[in-house]
């Protein structure tokens, strides 16, 4: 491996490797704004300049190829003066409104200003200001904070394959905006906020929700489609504040689509059924009437009563079990053991996305990240030998549906059904009883993405209310004696 010298330290590198990355690997930080490992190099911000022996001028580390024997200085007097100068230039027109800025705490401009800038300003002229425009539902633009790094423009062109962010006017008046001030169209708009090195582009969804330093971060997997992108869930006080992409060069690289990013909302939804419930009438064996008010008839109860009700519905019937392909491998395996032992002659199918019955139907939806299967574990379900649900097998008398929060319920043909997992109140009316389970952010587990890659889910928040993990629910089911009848109104 060829070697270069950075700040007196001999460092190995692979030819073609970016100098910033080479230095980072050796534990040497070269500050930068416009450079992004997932985007093309433009060398515009000039923050990453370094001194290279035998070169009279400072060179930008992002755009200079590292060569064998190169001697690089990242902390020489010249370099430090330039870093100070670039910081000064970037801040003379910046509003310095960190106290009210959502980026504060994770802002490159703020961090590097602290590290490399000067606490005094020599600027006494009037600051440049812009009018802001509405960029649609995802992104809030605050152009005054912009440092013109053009990462957003490059992201649109190079990753999202849409030319919507542009630089208009020029020089000191350059404005980063959308073509004709139109709202953003891409389904990947959230990434604009992620890559923005200042608070110029922020997520409307996250705006003023939480100071970032309060957030606890859990590495997990997005359940939005069979891509299984690596993701980070950020929460505080057991409430998810946002989801961000987690770098995984084999899967999603640095990016996440908006559908996956904002999928988490159902987890903390007020209408989610968080307590065991008996639906419709106090007598669970009576058939549900389509005219009932769906909200008023989801009656909270205790676990024992709900399980009893469920058992009553399913006992002695020919049961079809539908397993959401949004469940983990571990959960599916558990059900494969539980179902035959509990309901003799039951048939089992997986379900998830209308029209996608097997991996053969699954394909990339946009040639970027999104896939057609809108559940993450379709491939895993098939690897476990489960068949995709097509239509209700003849003779089915009752249905047990087990799902996370993502699989789309198929037509249950009005058969008596029990729902186990995550349901909201409007979906709950289709069942006789609801046994509340856990959503993706509330459990550990494994999914097998479309590419046969095992991706690990990690619990970020605790299940709400009385929701329980599938293992617990099945255990309660098994251990509860059929004759132990507690009243529907009895305490848990």
């Amino acid at each position: 491996m060829p070697k270069c010298v950075i700040d007196g330290k001999e460092v190995e590198f692979t030819p073609g490797q970016n100098m910033i990355e080479v230095a980072a690997k050796a534990g040497i930080e070269i500050p930068y704004f416009c450079y992004h490992p997932g985007l093309s190099v433009v060398a515009q911000c000039r923050m990453c300049t370094v001194e290279i022996e035998k070169m009279p001028k400072l060179q930008t580390a992002c755009s200079t190829a590292v060569a064998e024997g190169m001697v690089i200085k990242t902390k020489s007097e010249k370099v430090i003066k330039n870093q100070k100068s670039v910081m000064e230039f970037l801040l003379i027109n910046h509003p310095l409104d960190c106290p009210i800025c959502d980026k504060s705490g994770e802002c490159d401009l703020q961090d590097f200003s602290f590290k490399y800038g000067d606490s005094n300003s020599r600027y006494t002229e009037e600051r440049r200001t812009y009018m802001d425009l509405d960029m649609g539902p995802v992104i809030k633009k605050s152009m005054n904070r912009c440092i013109h790094c053009t990462r957003c423009i490059r992201f649109g062109e190079e990753i999202a394959h849409i030319h919507e962010m542009v630089a208009t006017r020029r020089g000191n008046n350059t404005e980063i905006t959308t073509i004709d001030g139109r709202p953003l169209e891409t389904d990947y708009a959230g990434n604009y906020a992620d890559i923005c090195p200042t608070g110029s582009l922020t997520l409307k969804d996250f705006r003023f929700k939480k100071r970032v330093w309060y957030l606890k971060k859990t590495p997990t997997i997005c359940e939005g489609c069979s891509k299984g992108c690596s993701m980070e869930v950020h929460q505080d006080n057991n409430v998810i504040a946002r989801c961000l992409p987690r770098v995984n060069m084999e899967v999603n690289r640095h990016w996440l689509c908006d559908e996956g990013r904002f999928n988490y909302h159902y987890v903390g939804d007020k209408k989610r059924v968080k307590e065991p419930a008996i639906v419709g009438h106090s007598n669970p064996t009576a058939s549900s009437s389509p005219s009932i008010n769906p909200v008023a008839n989801v009656n909270k109860t205790d676990w024992g009563s709900a399980i009893d009700a469920a058992k009553t519905v399913l006992a002695g019937k020919k049961v079809t079990v539908l397993i959401g392909s949004d469940l983990t491998q571990e959960e599916a395996k558990l059900l494969q053991d539980f179902v035959p032992a509990t309901f003799s002659g039951a048939s089992m199918f997986h379900f998830g996305t209308p029209g996608i019955k097997s991996v053969a139907d699954d394909a990339s939806a946009d040639n970027i990240l999104k896939r057609k299967s809108k559940t993450s574990n379709l491939n895993g379900m098939e690897k476990l030998g489960l068949k995709g649900f097509d239509s209700m097998p003849a003779g089915t008398e009752a249905v047990l549906v087990v799902r996370g929060g993502r699989a789309v319920l198929p037509d249950l043909k009005g058969l008596p059904a029990i729902g186990l997992g995550v349901f909201n109140e409007s979906a709950a009316v289709r069942f006789k009883a609801i046994l509340p389970g856990t959503a993706f952010a509330e459990k550990d587990g494994t999914i097998l993405n479309h590419d046969n890659r095992e991706q690990k889910l990690k619990r970020a928040v605790l299940p709400p209310g009385q929701s329980k993990a599938l293992t617990e629910i099945l255990m309660m089911w098994k251990n509860r004696k059929a004759d132990n009848k507690s009243g529907a109104t009895g305490a848990a």
Binding site: Q44, R46, K57, E88, F89, E125, T150, G171, N172
Partner: protein, 423 residues
């Protein structure tokens, strides 16, 4: 003996038509000769000629052509930089206006030398008349078979298209020009790759100034050595077109052998001295981006190396002469305003710094300066100089540093007196 010149004797309306070019100027004979030569021999001849690019950087033209890879899967391009955007420069306009066929012939030879069949003339948007004249002249050349398919029966094809700019200084920077030519925003690119490797539309490209290309037929006809000997100074061949403007009695375009005159001779002999016989205050020797010279510094030979030695540059040879009663603070303010306005805005020091300098100089000019402003100006200029993506930053910083250093007393008078002492 009258000094030999290449262009100036033809700078009149009669010389424009193709018929005149063919009859009186041995038109397209150099191309005929070149098309029978080996392409490499043409480049070798260019190297011998000591032709240094006339656009501003003074890069040896033959060497530039030599950088073009011999084999390429992509088409190669000859791009003529006719943006002539440096303030104080107006020589290329005359070439395009009066002797357009010299330019076409030069491009055609350049195309043959590097193996390109496509030529673009990127002309500045303000040159509307010249763009029309070029288009008409190109039509004439196509009609008579000097452009297009199978030129003069040699089997060589070459097309020229005129592309008009939309009015941006930065599109005179070669990579900014290429972006603009491709229909993109006119912003310089990161180099490397240089245009010789990946230029227009990703293909190997030479970008040459109008005067450079228009001199190529002369070099081919008379040989590189003859052209080189025309220059009276080492490493600089041929003649140069000087654009003299400002407070001289006879401003205009002058053609003189490279390195044959001093600034003093040019101003006082060729241009008949300062208007109103006033004293000379300052000279900007190479377009507005060149660091300024004082009246004591004009005994310098006007060419690339001598000017570089005294800390300025020949640039595009746009010489601006300033008489004693003109306010240098106002002049610097105007120059800086220009660069701030023309900054493309992509890199930090230039985008933020040029406007900052403009604001400070404007304050000083109008009597609102502070003592610390001069050192602040010098520091901002130093923070821009050599630290930007393209040369525009240097172009803005050079004048500020030189004006403040050389005319510091004038600036201080503005600050202390609260107004211009000349006013």
């Amino acid at each position: 003996m009258e000094t030999e010149t290449i262009f100036i004797q033809h700078f009149n309306e009669e010389s424009r038509p193709l018929a005149y070019y063919l009859a009186k100027m041995d038109g397209y004979k150099a191309a005929k000769k070149a098309l029978a030569m080996q392409p490499d021999d043409i480049t070798a001849e260019m190297k011998k000629s000591n032709m240094r690019g006339r656009g501003g950087a003074g890069f040896p033209t033959g060497m530039k052509w030599g950088f073009i890879p011999k084999t390429s899967t992509k088409p190669k391009y000859v791009v003529c930089n006719a943006d002539e955007s440096e303030p104080g420069t107006f020589k290329d306009r005359d070439i395009m206006r009066y002797t357009p066929h010299m330019l076409f012939e030069g491009m055609l030879i350049a195309g043959y030398a590097i193996g390109s069949n496509i030529g673009y003339i990127y002309i500045r948007g303000e040159y509307t008349r010249e763009a029309k004249l070029l288009d008409a002249a190109i039509d004439e050349a196509y009609e008579k078979g000097y452009l297009g398919k199978n030129i003069m029966g040699t089997g060589f094809n070459f097309d020229i298209t005129v592309h008009r700019g939309a009015g941006a200084y930065i599109c005179g920077e070669e990579t900014g020009l290429l972006n603009s030519l491709e229909g993109k925003r006119g912003e310089p690119r990161v180099k490397p790759p240089f245009p010789a490797i990946a230029g227009a539309f990703g293909g190997p490209t030479i970008v040459n100034n109008v005067e450079t290309l228009a001199a190529v037929p002369y070099i081919i006809t008379n040989g590189g050595d003859a052209f080189s000997k025309m220059g009276k100074i080492e490493k600089s061949g041929g003649t140069r077109l000087f654009c003299v403007s400002g407070h001289v009695k006879k401003p205009g375009v002058y053609e003189l052998p490279a390195g044959s005159v001093t600034l003093r001779q040019l101003i006082y002999e060729h241009c008949h001295g300062i208007l109103g016989d006033k004293k000379l205050k300052a000279v900007i020797p190479g377009g507005s981006s060149a660091p300024v010279l004082t009246a004591d510094e004009i005994d310098v030979v006007v060419d690339i190396e001598p000017l570089m030695k005294i800390g300025t540059m020949l640039g595009s040879a746009g010489i601006m002469v300033v008489s004693e009663d003109y306010c240098v603070v106002k002049l610097l303010g105007r120059i800086t305003k220009f660069y701030a306005h023309e900054s493309c805005g992509q890199c930090t020091p230039c985008r933020e710094g040029c406007k900052w300098m403009e604001d400070i100089i404007e304050r000083i000019e109008h009597g609102h300066g502070r003592e610390q402003d001069l050192n602040l100006l010098l520091d901002i200029a130093d923070n821009i100089n050599g630290k930007t993506l393209c040369a525009l930053g240097d172009a803005a910083a050079g004048p500020v540093m030189s004006f403040v250093k050389k005319f510091r007393a004038d600036f201080e008078a503005h600050i202390r007196g609260g107004k211009c002492p000349n006013a």
